[in-house]
């Protein structure tokens, strides 16, 4: 199929909606939007962060997965104890492939372990607090960790175990930091609620506990980078070469100690806006540290983000160093780009994943000449699609209202005005947006299709109607997509490849996509005797 024949825009949208009975189509319609930008980059609204209809085969997971799996999972020296029956903890055991690199073999690393209270019948009937208390004690006796996080799963909320009370009691008893998360799976409508809860608890119980001033000159904290496939390692190295000092990463390759000092940086840069924007906002409110959005996925996006960070500090030497690094790295990138781009140009991609990657990875595709024709998030909110400017118009429904919104006040002693009003104005004059995220849609072409919370039904229709050259999604979609004869790239796990962040990562990704869209393997699916060119039977062998 030639690309100009492909159904697109409203025609495509209607064809997808036609797959639903009227009642469901009506419900689904506001979640399928044809992109249309005006001069000010205003885009049509997307209904997002709403419940998935029961029975629909969705990509989404639960609040607990967002809290324990995403945000807290990558920190190596905390014991994440899951209070619940065995499964919730088992499935989150090493499956997100956050890498970590303890500096010595004396350093703690609990990420290879799975801890659970493995609740049994009697704990459900008579309550599980006693068992939880004992489990915390046993974990302490065995491992002597610096901190223990306790995660509530669905049944825990229902039987009313007070994990926070147990945490408080055991914290006092053992003298280490112990805190709970009410992240029962049924909260909110997706993993997103869990991100928020994780942000809240980290802010309440960890961030700000250690005021030790960082040693560097240009101190930053990287928020929303989880070190899948070693992304954070690439960025750590890159930032150091440029002259920045990384105080903490939330939460790739991190330690609890880094979190405790996260507020001491002068700038927070945010990668995955969806999962961590709450922490960025709260740190700013309480401690005065400004934040802005960056993107280290894509070589050009990386260069742009580094320049923005250098501009923030406004130091000539830093700027020069950043430019040198960019020049060196871009030369390497350009060589690979030149090799691969001609083979990929004009090919099409669809991205349906997560809460930021469906946006970020579009940069990488466009760098090698590929077009994103449809995209959407699994658990994002309207601001991730349309930009934070719509925040004031987002209405909170019952599911969101149930997630606590912390009341954060300026810390009378520790608030620092990192950015003078004068400097802020100066930067604003050169289009420097603080505390902002433009969202995915302003970057996408008009007439492309945006689908929120895509499901199996939509995926099948999209593949049949448009047959993209590559479809990006997660593990549950991967093999179904490929059974269509379309390669699927996982953007949660990177298909056990990567890193894809920074310049080095961009090169890896170009090569990976080149492999996926230009291999001949897909052409062998049809056996030779089934192809039109194959001759018909020539002889009869033992016909009767």
């Amino acid at each position: 199929m030639k690309h100009h024949d492909l159904p697109k825009g409203e025609g495509l949208r209607e064809k997808i909606l036609a797959g639903y009975p009227a009642k469901l189509a009506k419900k689904r319609a506001p979640q399928l939007v044809v992109n249309q930008k005006d001069a000010a980059d205003n885009v049509p609204p997307v209904k997002a962060n709403v419940r998935t209809t029961p029975g629909i085969i969705t990509q989404r997971g639960c609040c607990y997965a967002g809290c324990k799996g995403v945000v807290l999972g990558p920190t190596r020296d905390i014991i994440n104890l899951v209070h619940g029956p065995v499964g919730c903890s088992f499935y989150a055991w090493l499956t997100r492939r956050n890498q970590t690199r303890p500096p010595t073999d004396q350093d703690e690393n609990f990420m290879t372990y799975c801890f659970t209270t493995d609740m049994q019948d009697e704990n459900i009937v008579f309550g599980g607090e006693k068992k939880l208390r004992a489990a915390v004690q046993e974990a302490y006796d065995l491992f002597h960790p610096k901190a223990i996080g306790i995660f509530s799963t669905c049944p825990v909320g229902l039987i009313g175990d007070d994990v926070h009370a147990v945490a408080k009691e055991m914290k006092e008893k053992l003298g280490i930091n112990i805190f709970g998360f009410s992240c029962e799976g049924y909260k909110g409508v997706s993993q997103s609620a869990g991100h928020h809860i994780a942000n809240n608890q980290l802010f309440k119980h960890v961030i700000g506990r250690d005021d030790t001033a960082p040693a560097g000159k240009f101190n930053i904290t990287l928020l929303g980078e989880y070190n899948i496939g070693g992304d954070a390692f690439v960025l750590e190295e890159l930032l150091e070469r440029c002259g920045f000092t990384l105080v903490a990463t939330l939460s790739g390759n991190s330690t609890i100690g880094q979190f405790e000092r996260a507020h001491t940086a002068d700038l927070n840069v945010v990668m995955c806006h969806r999962s961590i924007n709450y922490v960025a906002d709260m740190i700013e409110k309480k401690f005065g540290v400004p934040w802005f959005k960056v993107n280290f996925i894509g070589a050009h996006a990386t260069a742009k983000s580094l320049r923005k960070m250098a501009a923030f500090f406004g130091d000539a030497e830093l700027t020069a160093r950043v430019e040198t690094v960019i020049a060196e790295e871009m030369a390497k990138v350009a060589a690979v780009e030149a090799e691969i781009k001609p083979r990929c140009t004009g090919k099409t991609a669809m991205l349906f994943v997560g809460g930021s990657r469906a946006h970020h990875y579009q940069d990488l595709f466009s760098e090698i000449g590929m077009k994103t024709i449809a995209a959407g998030y699994e658990f994002a909110h309207r601001d991730d699609y349309e930009g934070r400017k719509v925040l004031s118009t987002v209405t909170l429904d019952a599911d969101s209202r149930n997630i606590e919104e912390l009341d954060v006040e300026r810390d009378p002693k520790r608030f620092r005005q990192v950015l003078s009003d004068e400097k802020r104005q100066k930067l604003a004059a050169v289009n420097f947006e603080f505390s902002d995220y433009q969202g995915m849609m302003p970057q996408m072409d008009n007439e492309t299709l945006v689908i929120d919370d895509i499901n199996e039904q939509d995926t099948q229709r999209l593949l049949e109607l448009c047959r993209p050259d590559v479809f990006c999604a997660g593990i549950k979609e991967k093999y179904g997509v490929q059974k269509h004869g379309v390669p699927c790239k996982q953007l949660h796990s990177y298909d056990y490849g990567g890193p894809y962040a920074g310049f080095k990562g961009a090169i890896n990704f170009y090569r990976e996509i080149d492999r996926l869209v230009n291999t001949r393997i897909w052409s062998f699916i049809e056996p030779p005797w089934k192809t039109a060119a194959s001759p018909t039977l020539e002889a009869t062998y033992a016909r009767d």
Partner: protein, 461 residues
């Protein structure tokens, strides 16, 4: 450097904490069993997360699409119950995905709430949400009871409860319940029965479902799976052979109770003597002779055993996984003169220890065998730290121990997340026994080749 750097050789008894579990939760077993029914969509009645995790785990294990729906509970449903969610789900599933059967399993959440699935399903039928000739079946699968194997057993039993029909006209067929084994094993069991000329009904049957070919077309319901018609006829079969007491006995007993079909409950046919028991039982039940071709397969397995005995003899092995697998594996290893010294399963139940004692028959007096919540991989690793082993056999999570301790490792059981082959090549039957030995020998001999002094490298082994 060590991956599991906090594991020490000092064992302290734990009462409350499970570390690195050797089991997972019931619903995933129910989902796996339901996938072995033709045109069936498994449905997880609870919050989205469980379903997402179960689908992901099965997908990673099989590298195949795993379709299942969820009731997508919200906080409201957890307060008011999940009836309206399930009613909506049933309606939407039949309209959008048109299965013949929806196999509902519960989760911890809906179990704790106490949702009455049959009552909700009846209501759905009353309200016209279930098309004529279609079914909604269910199994209760609270994860705070049993393990993933229990979930498999419960859903398999439900197939009987919902579909098996009593009949005075007995058919020639024999029912075989394969237990929680791979699609390849289910295919192998069918092949063995065909070789012996016995007509069987195998249920559940995930072959041609979770090993579907790449054709360029996505079949939402792949070709395989036991059909409803076949399930109905199980009630009129001559007998039932249940392989693996933990996974298969409940369904076999239910068939006996409901339809008067005699049952033979055997260990999984992994290894020589367990396969002998299966073949012999099938021979007697169906009144057939064991064909020469099968006797030859057995002979080939015997040949490998006698040829390579020196490499097996006295080797210490640690095992973890599910009771049915562990009992047969341990028995096989002991028959080879290997020493299954450690075995842990998170699946609770005293019967496991008794079954192990029976197959080991006192030949490995030093064996440490444990079951239940604290019989986890952490404990097993601690034992290994105390006194080492020559070989590890179990699921993918063993790779961390294998690397830290530099121990050869054969993957077996669920889940295997990092290798392929388990869904295509059986480990049951005589030929499966050869494959298992090939893997064990390969692991042990590779280790010897890599680690022995240079002058001791053997060309011929």
């Amino acid at each position: 450097m060590a991956l599991l750097r906090h594991t020490t050789g000092t064992v302290t008894e734990r009462q409350a904490l499970t570390v690195n579990p050797a089991k997972t939760c019931q619903p995933i077993g129910a989902m796996y069993a339901a996938l072995g029914v033709h045109n069936c969509l498994p449905h997880s009645h609870g919050s989205q997360g469980c379903c997402s995790y179960h689908r992901s785990a099965l997908t990673r294990h099989y590298k195949e699409p795993v379709m299942a729906a969820t009731s997508s509970f919200t906080e409201g449903s957890s307060v008011f119950g999940g009836q309206s969610n399930l009613l909506a789900a049933i309606e939407n599933i039949f309209t959008l995905y048109a299965p013949d059967v929806i196999a509902v399993h519960t989760t911890c959440l809906s179990e704790t709430i106490g949702d009455d699935i049959p009552q909700i399903a009846a209501k759905a039928r009353e309200e016209g949400k279930v098309p004529a000739g279609k079914y909604v079946i269910h199994a209760n699968t609270p994860s705070y009871v049993g393990s993933h194997v229990t979930g498999f057993a419960n859903m398999t039993k439900s197939l009987v409860t919902y579909f098996s029909d009593w009949s005075e006209n007995r058919l020639r067929t024999v029912n075989i319940i394969p237990g929680w084994v791979e699609p390849a094993d289910m295919r192998e069991i069918k092949r063995l029965a065909a070789l012996m000329g016995v007509e069987i009904i195998l249920f559940p049957d995930t072959s041609d479902v979770l090993d579907a070919p790449q054709t360029g077309t996505h079949e939402f319901y792949p070709r395989g799976g036991v059909t409803i018609q076949a399930l109905r006829r199980t009630g009129a079969s001559q007998a039932t052979i249940a392989l693996g007491p933990t996974a298969s006995a409940p369904a076999a007993r239910e068939l006996e109770k409901k339809c008067g079909v005699d049952s033979h409950i055997l260990e999984l046919p992994i290894g020589l003597r367990a396969t002998d028991a299966f073949v012999d039982t099938l021979r007697r039940t169906a009144g057939v002779e064991v064909p020469a071709a099968l006797v030859e397969e057995r002979g080939r397995l015997m040949d490998v055993i006698t040829d390579m005995h020196q490499y097996f003899y006295g080797k210490r092995v640690a095992l973890w996984g599910d009771p049915d697998q562990l009992v047969s594996l341990a028995g096989f290893l002991a028959d080879l003169d290997m020493k299954p010294v450690y075995a842990v399963t998170g699946t609770p139940g005293r019967a496991f220890e008794e079954r192990m004692a029976k197959v080991l028959a006192g030949r490995v007096p030093e064996a440490k065998i444990r079951q239940g919540p604290q019989a986890d991989m952490f404990l097993m690793h601690q034992w290994i730290k105390e006194q080492g082993v020559d070989l590890l056999i179990g699921n993918t999570y063993g790779k961390y121990i294998a690397r830290d301790e530099n121990i050869p490792f054969v993957r077996h059981g669920f889940p295997i997340l990092d290798r392929v082959g388990h869904s295509y090549f059986p480990t049951t039957g005589y030929m499966g026994g050869i494959r298992l030995l090939e893997k064990i020998l390969g692991a042990l001999q590779d280790q010897q080749d890599r680690n022995c002094p240079e002058e001791a490298v053997e060309l011929v082994m």
